[in-house]
């Protein structure tokens, strides 16, 4: 049977992470499963997790002015979902909804924040990895804003 520690070690987000850090992280990790259409989180709720996706697909949804949801991004196997747990005041900025049945490892943000405060090396390592994800998402959002396929171009 696969242990959580092994699953964490094999996820691309934690590639090359020191085993001692993995041991610290595994105490904050749990297996989760979401049915299609289930919400992983809703905008405005406290953000106390992030997810390492193992199977399925999750949509990030924002509300249009009349609150019709628009899918602005989807994430799937090997992706990392959620950074609000890291940035105060720790509230989700969007909805996260399973497009299909999804399996993931959930990492408890409160537990992780405590461990990062106690071990700044672990905190710095996690920050570096999250910054890479944030930079990629920022670039994608900028390209999305350009609306490159619009007719008026």
């Amino acid at each position: 049977m696969e242990t959580l520690e092994r699953i964490l070690a094999q996820h691309p987000f934690f590639e090359g992470l020191e085993p001692e850090y993995l041991k610290l992280l595994v105490g904050c990790a749990s297996n989760v499963r979401f049915d299609a259409d289930a919400y992983l989180f809703r905008q405005g709720e406290e953000a106390n997790q992030f997810y390492l996706l193992r199977h399925g697909r999750v949509a990030i949804e924002m509300c249009e002015p009349q609150c019709r949801p628009v899918r602005v991004e989807t994430l799937e196997k090997d992706d990392v979902l959620g950074w609000s747990w890291l940035v105060a005041p720790h509230f989700w900025r969007s909805d996260g909804r399973a497009v299909e049945m999804t399996r993931a490892i959930a990492l408890d943000g409160k537990c992780l924040r405590t461990k990062c405060e106690q071990n700044h090396d672990l905190g710095y390592e996690l920050l570096k990895r999250f910054m890479r994800i944030l930079e990629q998402r920022l670039q994608s959002t900028r390209m999305q804003l350009l609306d490159v396929y619009a007719t008026h171009r």
Partner: protein
């Protein structure tokens, strides 16, 4: 209008690149809300010039205007020419409003082709955005017909929204062929859309590329191509010499005489539309061009 068609009918097949050949609309298929695929056939007893994937024709809607349109059909199916056209202005609207049996003037094919010889024995990475899939479709047809000549076929395709995705049935059918990976995404999706959402560059994270064994062919809006090239070079390690792109400018004569499509030292109609990225690199970085 029919008078003009009749005038040029008898002269089809002559080698004057400025003289249109009258072709009949055999079929017109609505692909999306604003994009249509036209199949043109020559008059009985006449033939059409062969084309290479990536080339374009000048299509003349009599009395309205002439447009450069890339050929989107199978290069090995002779006797017809297929074009996919997005209706965005007066001339394109007039073109896609032709009904079966109506006449269209065709000049060409013109321009450079995708580097299929160079891609032989390698992985072919096709990255298309919006209607940019149309000029690349002949490459896909060619590869699927000559499957043993190439290693993997990787197709990344992005569109604005689900209803803008072109050739959806074909995308599904291509994805079922061996050694082929087809990934599609849209910039925005509603809750009814269960596919991927995100810009086309986000698809790269689902691929394992072999930079030394890959030839990349890109077609789409210029901004999108810049983002894709940046991803290919800076993150995926693909050398500039292995990247090709198809450029678009306001082409008029099609043969490098009028200068309308000048891009730095090049005429897109004659020296392109398909260019090795290495030739354009210095120009693409200049905003005023």
């Amino acid at each position: 209008m029919p008078l003009i068609a009749e005038e040029i009918e008898g002269k089809a097949g002559v080698s004057d690149p400025m003289l249109p050949q009258a072709c009949r609309v055999a079929e017109i298929v609505k692909e999306t809300q604003d994009t249509f695929t036209l199949t043109l056939e020559p008059r009985e007893g006449e033939s059409l010039a062969r084309f290479a994937p990536g080339q374009f024709s000048m299509l003349y809607v009599f009395g309205v205007g002439e447009l450069p349109i890339s050929i989107s059909g199978d290069p090995e199916r002779s006797g017809r020419l297929v074009y996919t056209v997005r209706s965005v202005g007066q001339a394109t609207h007039a073109l896609v409003s032709r009904g079966p049996g109506e006449w269209v003037g065709v000049r060409g094919p013109f321009g450079t082709a995708w580097p299929l010889d160079e891609a032989r024995g390698k992985d072919v990475l096709i990255v298309a955005g919006g209607i940019g899939l149309a000029p690349l479709r002949p490459v896909i047809y060619h590869i699927l017909r000559h499957r043993d000549d190439f290693v993997r076929l990787l197709v990344l395709y992005g569109a604005r929204a689900p209803h803008d995705l072109l050739f959806r049935k074909e995308l599904t059918s291509w994805s079922r062929t061996p050694d082929t990976q087809v990934l599609t995404t849209v910039d925005y999706g509603g809750v009814a859309w269960h596919g991927r959402v995100g810009v086309v560059t986000t698809l790269f994270r689902h691929l394992r590329l072999h930079p030394d064994q890959t030839v990349a062919m890109i077609c789409g809006p210029e901004i999108m191509m810049r983002f894709v090239i940046s991803e290919l070079r800076e993150i995926r390690g693909i050398d500039a010499g292995r990247i090709y792109l198809s450029m678009e400018r306001n082409m008029k004569c099609g043969v490098g005489l009028c200068g309308h499509c000048q891009y730095g030292p090049y005429f897109i109609c004659r020296d392109g539309p398909v260019f090795p990225y290495a030739r354009l690199q210095h120009l693409l970085e200049r905003h005023e061009l």
